[in-house]
């Protein structure tokens, strides 16, 4: 086939100061294919796509679109060349309707009405053609993430994108939503569109792509036909060595409970019950995993137990005390005093302050500890010393406590949070999504730390939407669906069984609810 490729990159180079983010990158993306780009965080995937989408300019190298050499000055130019991008964090106006969002920035004239009705027809056509069903009049804020992402795709298609770049599209999706996304991508491919899928999840690459290119430390190390490769080979290419996808651990040896939750009910600000009459316990020396599709009450459960959110009713037994959660006014600091650590689900929103230096984040929540103060003042020396120790112990890179936290990669940011919480020696550690957006090398490391904590006789409550992670780490698995715990399984629960429970199906009739929650 000597067909002209949709996108061709030749010898792309991009440096940020001393850091060579993209080194002599060559990439050929066939028209009408789904091309995956996989690599660890910090491998240079996003930089490369930002160059293609006009956010950055390459220091050297050529970009060819449809065989013609082009200069992409900004994202407007990229759109004009038929390149569309769906960002990891959606660029939508929450209180606008779907239609308004699609039109935003592409209004034909000063008056909206005419453009909107034309857009409505066009949107209808796109929806039919690509099976992208969304109510054009729904407000973005009322839509689940899966549908919001669909709006992003529609936006790109509305601007006549021929090449669609998706940056970590499944990071925010439930498994069912992800499956639906892959179906959409296949329809797009069938209609002749080209899809570039950026991810660090091997499973997705195997599931949906035709071709996969692997990046490692700014270099393009390999390109393979997906059907001729395997997860193991790709994982090895990504990290440059073979990786254990499973966690080595001995069977648990649990002792007395360190945390008991009884009849916990949580109502959110809209008045909806999000956690419904949940009871469970975590014993010393065991990891209890909470599996479930995201949005089934796990986040609220973690936030309530850690003192961030108020419960409606329920009791919590911890550190020899019985706390009535319905009336308690204990906040996160009080819970820490009861030896509860908490690695929150979203490190950017909650676990870290991105504009702070690393060492400042290394005491977030523990800043009142007398070890870090000298009289009225904070003991900066002691704080930095503790931070440096954590950096060494957790191999946080770059090893610089003065560096702004935003400058660390996802995996290293997560290690900062984990180090902070584990090194305070909690009796019970709550962990939400420990490896979300984290590269394989760091996942291994983080998993090992969690198991070590268990082996030292602490209790761990693990919430994750990654079923593999739950199964690899947990000694007991609880499944949450619609705010309730719908099942409990042992360490070697079968994936299929858990999957059914997560979907709220008790018997064997499996029905995939397409994306909607």
């Amino acid at each position: 086939m000597s067909e002209v490729p949709a996108i061709e990159l030749r010898q792309i180079n991009k440096s940020f100061g001393p850091v060579h983010a993209n080194k002599d990158i060559d990439l050929v993306v066939k028209k009408g294919s789904i091309h995956g780009i996989i690599g660890e965080n910090g491998a240079g995937k996003s930089t490369l796509m930002s160059i293609l989408y006009g956010f950055y300019h390459a220091d050297k190298g050529d970009i060819l679109v449809d065989g013609t050499k082009v200069t992409i000055a900004d994202s407007k130019a990229a759109i004009a060349m038929g390149i569309g991008m769906v960002h990891q964090h959606f660029m939508l106006v929450d209180n606008f309707s779907v239609l308004e969002n699609v039109v935003l920035g592409a209004e034909d004239s000063a008056m909206l009405a005419g453009g909107l009705s034309r857009a409505r027809n066009e949107l209808k056509r796109l929806e039919d053609e690509y099976e992208l069903r969304v109510d054009p009049d729904a407000l973005i804020q009322d839509l689940p993430v899966g549908l919001q992402q669909r709006v992003e795709i529609l936006k790109a298609l509305y601007r006549s994108a021929e090449v669609l770049i998706l940056d970590e599209p499944t990071g925010v999706l439930t498994p069912a939503e992800a499956d639906h996304l892959f179906k959409i991508l296949n329809v797009l491919k069938d209609e002749g569109k080209t899809v570039l899928l950026i991810t660090h999840k091997l499973r997705e690459i195997m599931a949906v792509t035709d071709t996969v290119s692997v990046m490692r430390r700014g270099e393009m190390v390999a390109t393979r036909e997906t059907r001729n490769t395997s997860m193991e080979e790709l994982a090895e290419l990504m990290v440059g060595r073979s990786v254990l996808l499973r966690v080595d651990k001995t069977p648990a040896d649990p002792a007395a409970p360190v945390m008991e939750v009884e009849n916990l009910t949580v109502t959110d600000s809209r008045g909806v019950q999000v956690v419904k009459d949940v009871s469970f316990s975590v014993r010393a020396g065991e990891i209890v995993g909470i599996a479930g599709v995201s949005g089934n009450g796990q986040s609220e459960l973690l936030e309530t137990l850690s003192g961030i959110r108020r419960a409606t009713t329920g009791t919590l037994k911890i550190a020899g005390e019985t706390i009535d959660l319905g009336t308690s006014t204990l906040d996160a600091a009080d819970m820490r005093d009861k030896n509860m650590g908490h690695v929150p689900e979203d490190r950017h929103r909650m676990g870290l302050i991105n504009s702070f230096a690393e060492y400042e984040n290394s005491i977030l929540g523990y800043h009142r500890d007398p070890a870090y103060s000298k009289g009225l003042l904070m003991d900066i020396g002691a704080i930095k010393k503790a931070a440096v120790e954590e950096i060494e112990k957790y191999d946080i890179r770059p090893p610089n406590p003065m560096l702004k936290t935003a400058s660390f990669s996802g995996g290293n940011q997560q290690k900062i949070v984990l180090a902070r919480e584990i090194e305070r020696d909690p009796e019970i550690l709550l962990i939400g999504q420990p490896t979300r957006g984290v590269d394989i090398g760091a996942i291994e490391f983080i998993h090992r730390r969690i198991v070590e904590l268990r082996d030292s006789g602490k209790g761990v409550l693990l919430v994750s939407v990654e079923l593999d992670e739950i199964r690899a780490l947990s000694d007991r698995v609880l499944v949450m669906f619609d705010g309730k715990i719908v099942g409990e399984r042992g360490a070697n629960a079968e994936e299929g069984e858990l999957g059914l429970l997560m979907a709220g199906v008790e018997d064997s009739q499996m029905s995939v609810a397409g994306g909607a929650q």
């Binding site: 906040d331 600091a333 819970m335 908490h342 400042e360 800043h367 009142r368 904070m378 400058s407």
Partner: protein
């Protein structure tokens, strides 16, 4: 792409300088439009504010006011709060100074009165900030709105008090009696006669202002409270996760902010006017916003920005005297332009500068 990775000297030096240069450029055009030579105008302005000791003394006097109000705005900034109420808080702060001076001036020397005046002004300024703070913390009523409203309330409140309650008996002026020596801070001219500050009202409050700068620096960057304030300002959700109470931070920060604004009254009332009178704040509270923005909410930056605005006030007065075509109103236009470029358009040059400096500064881990 975050814009946070600029070298410090660019962020703290180059950008403010460019903003200032742009403001003066446009001001120069305005001066040309009214038929005067802008270079001459600059000469007069610089000479009037820095060229001779008395003029410089006036510059420092105004700068003292701006340091207090600038610090007030800056402290609130660090908690992500926008305290526009410096004007009213300083005005009401005057009550605290006046009470201390009226009560003590006949019995004790000024250095005994001063601590009470500082406490009084800070307490009254803080009290005036308390209700907006409480409403923000408990009810979510935005401090921008409520502090502006409280400015207007303070204007009427002070007129009422000075016209009906505190007025000197038998006087037509809405003001208190003049303080005796125990209620007057020494002028710098009396302490350092050799500097030749002459009739400039710059007084010991300048050193109180410097002390306030040191206090704010320690508070924000070296205390637990400061850490909590900055955490809350940078990421309120993470602050709650860390067990920091938003209600407490909002209220405490606004009290400190209001207290600092209130302390401006020490300079005006105990340092210069020696009596509490109507409208002594005249915009210093509002200019404090520009000072804080331009000074990057850092005490050192605030001192520099305060001196700059002091120069504009003093040099501007000289200018309208030397060049009758440039009226007092024109000076306000020029000051307004500086505020516009340094404050409102603070980010105008930033994107271009970030683009210019980013390639050499961004880090590997930028990708996420």
């Amino acid at each position: 792409m975050s814009a946070g990775q600029l070298p410090r000297w660019v962020d703290l030096g180059l950008i403010p300088f460019l903003n200032l240069a742009a403001a003066f450029l446009v001001s120069g055009l305005v001066v040309i439009l009214i038929g005067e030579n802008p270079l001459d105008a600059v000469k007069v302005l610089l000479w009037g504010s820095l060229g001779y000791a008395e003029g410089f003394g006036f510059t420092l006097f105004y700068a003292t006011n701006f340091i207090f109000t600038g610090l007030a705005v800056a402290v609130a900034f660090h908690a992500g709060l926008f305290n526009i109420g410096g004007e009213g808080q300083a005005y009401v702060g005057g009550l605290g100074v006046a009470f201390a001076c009226l009560a003590l001036d006949r019995f004790v020397p000024w250095y005994v009165t001063l601590p009470f005046a500082i406490l009084g002004s800070a307490a009254m300024g803080a009290a005036w900030a308390f209700i907006p703070a409480w409403l923000q913390a408990k009810r979510g009523s935005h401090v921008v709105i409520t502090t502006i409203m409280f400015n207007y309330i303070s204007f009427s409140f002070m007129v009422y008090l000075l016209g009906n309650v505190l007025k000197k008996p038998g006087s037509m002026q809405n003001e208190t009696r003049t303080f005796e020596d125990g209620g007057r801070l020494p002028f710098l001219n009396d302490i350092f006669p050799s500097f030749g500050f002459g009739y400039a009202p710059v007084n010991l409050s300048l050193f109180v202002a410097f002390a306030a700068c040191v206090f704010v620096w320690f508070l924000i960057w070296r205390t637990k409270l400061g850490y909590e304030i900055r955490s809350f300002g940078a990421n309120a959700t993470a602050a709650v996760y860390a067990g920091i109470s938003p209600v407490r931070i909002i209220v405490v920060t606004m009290l400190i902010s209001g207290g600092l604004a209130g302390m401006m009254a020490i300079n005006e009332i105990m340092g210069s006017q020696h009596r509490l009178l109507i409208d002594f704040v005249t915009g210093y509270g509002f200019v404090g916003i520009a000072v804080a923005l331009m000074g990057r909410a850092h005490p050192v930056g605030i001192i520099l920005a305060a001196i700059l605005f002091g120069m504009l006030y003093q040099g501007g007065a000289e200018l309208s005297f030397e060049m009758p075509n440039i009226t007092r109103d024109m000076i306000i236009v020029i000051q307004g332009l500086v505020i516009l470029f340094a404050g409102a358009l603070e980010h105008m040059f930033r994107p271009a500068i970030v683009r210019f400096f980013t390639p050499s500064r961004a880090l590997a881990a930028k990708e996420a």
